[in-house]
Symmetry: C3
Amino acid sequence: MVFQQQLNFATRGRSTTNITNEIQQIVAKSSISIGTCHVFVQHTSASLMLCENADPDVQIDMETYMQHIVPDGDAMFLHQDEGPDDMSAHIRTVLTNPDVTLPVSNGCCDLGIWQGLFLWEHRTHPHQRRVIVTVQGE
Amino acid sequence: MVFQQQLNFATRGRSTTNITNEIQQIVAKSSISIGTCHVFVQHTSASLMLCENADPDVQIDMETYMQHIVPDGDAMFLHQDEGPDDMSAHIRTVLTNPDVTLPVSNGCCDLGIWQGLFLWEHRTHPHQRRVIVTVQGE
Amino acid sequence: MVFQQQLNFATRGRSTTNITNEIQQIVAKSSISIGTCHVFVQHTSASLMLCENADPDVQIDMETYMQHIVPDGDAMFLHQDEGPDDMSAHIRTVLTNPDVTLPVSNGCCDLGIWQGLFLWEHRTHPHQRRVIVTVQGE
């Protein structure tokens, strides 16, 4: 069995959003009890991250770290068409990935107790982001 | 067809463990001949890595490199609740990922000759780690 | 349904190659209309990257950035058997990943308009690279 649905998120600019509940709802709707859930961002400047879901400081530190290793508007970058966050957003997406696959057990994504799935907007301005969720199994 | 099994690993603290054989045994047990094998760590401070499996120096260098780009206990991090390896372990997990999918061909994971799958413990102290393996195909 | 095929690419040494068309052709051949397409590189010094496909400067900047954070032949690395690009190629592969899964909708990979799938050769000399593509769904 295959079940697929598109989700749309309006981001407020550079930030992370916990989308675990939205994904779990799609898995519930699929009626698939065991298998996998694939989540995919159709963009090159937003990504997905499985990360600690309890302390908000972890998300702040992830952002601090990314700005530290991927400096916005660095002179080494040629591609600056859309501003200093343009090329850095592409690199951040490649380092953290726009796709993730989760196991499905007993009709829901079988995450660890501290694991949340976050959509990470890497551009500084708000964007509309499309996410394709595909559940496969029995 | 779907086959799913949980594996448990006791790590000895920060280090990598080659878990390729354990994964291949589950694929053999599944009786699935062609498809995919999804491997998932249910934690936010341990990850999976496909890496060169012949020279142990490669694993040492991977660890050296990670300590180089993700400094433990750095003053830029707010989240230090469980010690200097807490936030760095979360970042290392995000950079290297807790999920991977392998192709299954002829009843086993179709890896390259130099590819091994390693479980990477990022905390300095030993931990119990749960890994969910889901094999799908025909 | 499962459809699997191996692709072979001759790289010209360190560079990226847009392989989106080759992957789309396999999905079309599979006759699978909805599901997932898993792409896997059977090597530890070449990887896959979903990235902006319009401005060639983005690929140049990705390479510039990788050389910036993963210096070739750095004295911190023990594993230098095959030259200064040996260990750095392994690290680059781990940071960017040899596997990716794409959604399949209406009989093709459902990518965003600016998303291309690139094979990234991390060694400086030309290599033969094997890629296993597995399409699953209905």
